[in-house]
């Protein structure tokens, strides 16, 4: 089967993004095996050392090895990104399917709530919630999902609305299939491609939200390292120890760029599939 150059390029970049994403997850999982130092090993004699052959990424103000902290931080930041995205999409899909299938006042109510939360600036809302709740990592994941599900809910609702009028769903209804069963068996499978794209994009956004929260000191709390709170600590000494800001930020950028390019490619290929 021959492919045109555009499609080939698309497949290549999807594969490349998948490889990078897999590599990032692998590095995070293998952190205890490959990190050259313990992430919280304090070395007051070797404080604020510039990157060298011993400390590839340098050390911070307590002499902790930055490379090890970036690797361990990946576990926290990526876990929050992936789990919050999964929860976001599960919530959004649930609300969207209920709204789309139920219609009438349930639909109107759920969509107005989604619109209202969308109108509240996301980061400030999350910062206030974090100040009030003082969350650990699991609760932080819940909070991120709680302010992020609305876009998915809107898209899923729209798809469900159009699916329920299609012949195969109406036929199932006429044959006496219960609405809930039909939602599960006939509608959900058709929404899954949308959910895959939504999840991919949500991973990037969740990583960014966590990093911003931690950057303001209200997200992941030290001594646990996350890329965001490493930048929070780096901010004050940035002029003299720029490596402290450079590496965690680059880690965030690479991760978000990877999932976003994956999401973009997947949504383009879906539109292509639909058109053909």
């Amino acid at each position: 089967m021959s492919m045109d150059p555009g499609a080939q390029r698309a497949t290549f970049s999807v594969n490349a993004a998948l490889v990078v994403a897999g590599l990032l997850v692998l590095l995070a999982l293998a952190a205890p095996l490959i990190a050259p130092f313990a992430p919280d090993a304090i070395d007051l004699a070797g404080r604020r050392a510039a990157p060298s052959s011993v400390h590839w990424f340098g050390t911070d103000d307590l002499g902790r090895d930055l490379l090890s902290r970036v690797l361990y931080g990946a576990r926290v930041s990526l876990a929050i990104g992936i789990l919050a995205a999964a929860l976001t999409v599960a919530l959004g899909a649930g609300v969207g399917m209920v709204a789309g299938a139920a219609g009438r006042w349930i639909d109107a109510l759920l969509m107005r709530i989604a619109d209202a939360i969308l109108a509240v600036p996301r980061l400030p809302l999350l910062m206030i919630a974090s100040v009030i709740v003082r969350p650990g990592v699991p609760v932080l994941i819940l909070l991120v999902a709680a302010v992020s599900w609305m876009e998915t809910a809107r898209v899923v609702r729209a798809e469900v609305r159009s699916l329920v009028t299609r012949g195969f769903v109406e036929a199932a209804h006429a044959m006496g299939v219960k609405p809930l069963m039909s939602l599960w068996r006939h509608i959900l499978p058709n929404v899954i491609p949308t959910l895959v794209v939504a999840t991919t994009l949500a991973v990037g956004r969740s990583i960014l939200l966590e990093s911003a929260l931690s950057f303001f000191g209200v997200g992941v709390q030290p001594p646990t390292a996350s890329w965001g709170n490493m930048l929070y600590q780096a901010q004050s000494t940035m002029a003299t120890e720029p490596w402290l800001a450079l590496f965690p930020g680059a880690a965030i950028l690479i991760s978000v760029l990877t999932v976003n390019s994956l999401g973009e490619r997947l949504s383009i290929s879906r539109i292509g599939v639909r058109a053909s």
Binding site: G6, R112, I113, D115, A116, I117, L118, A119, V120, P121, R122, L123, P124, L125, M127, I128, A129, V131, I132, V133, G204, L208, S211, A212, F215, F216, G217, V218, L231, A234, Q235, M238, A239, P242, A245, L246, G249, I252, L253, V256, L257, N260, S261, E264
Partner: protein, 312 residues
Amino acid sequence: MLLLRRVAQSIPLLLIVSVLVFALLHAAPGGPLAIYLENPGVRPEDIERLRKALGLDQPLSIQYVRWLSAFITGDWGFSLSDGRPVAQRMLERAPATLELAGASLIVALLAAVPLGIVSAVRRGRWVDRVSGVIALAGVSLPVFWFGLILQLTLAIGLGWLPSSGRSAVFDSGFVDRIRHLILPATVLAGVHAAAWSRFLRSSMLGVLSQRFILAAEGRGVPKRAVVLRHALRNAAGPLVTIVFMDAALLVSGAVVTESVFAWPGLGALFTEAIVRRDYPVLMAFLMVTSAAVILLNLVADLMHRALDPRVA
């Protein structure tokens, strides 16, 4: 008539937001008085007295109605950090934020519009692909990190631009103000410029594939005129809508940008209030910005209808 209906539709949204904001405030352990509970110098009987004086012993529903009616009439309470009225503190900070937002809007459009047009016209060519990569990087950048890096390189490293603040202590002429604006406005504009350029590209492509464009080309209208006069005019409507719809994102961006660059606006006031657990300021900020977002979304909708007669 339409205007009235759309305005009426915004009111329930505002009410839901107000319930959310109120619930958040009262979900705090200790509620609005939390800051006093943590202070060993404040006696329990004083807290009890404050609770009565502020009506916090009343049922929540009554408290909500009181709070909302006070808020609507401009009584936003007093800041816990300096005791001044919240409305006054926010009014003082608003001009700096509006200045920054206006400047970043200009920067974002100056970058997004040419990029979007060129990428659409040269679709699939290297200009398009490079701008696609830049746009993808733009929406993937952590805003605060982008700010820190620009500060580090252009301000601290090269010394071309001031690293923070709104104007120098002594010289604050026009040029100085612009110099202070450049970095924060660029950072705040970044994510928008990236997203808008791709949006304009795809709406331009949609228009360029239509028959009236082919007809214009067939009549011998020069390419430049076809692109700028016919295609851009039709693609501009959706772009204007998106610009207004992104208001909520702009607020989040302003909180981050103002904090990184010590820009004395509403976003910096918000982060100060976060550090001091200044709940009245936090709540007012959320209410005001959400109301502004709802208003701007309304404007976006009305402008979309005005610019495109096909939208019934």
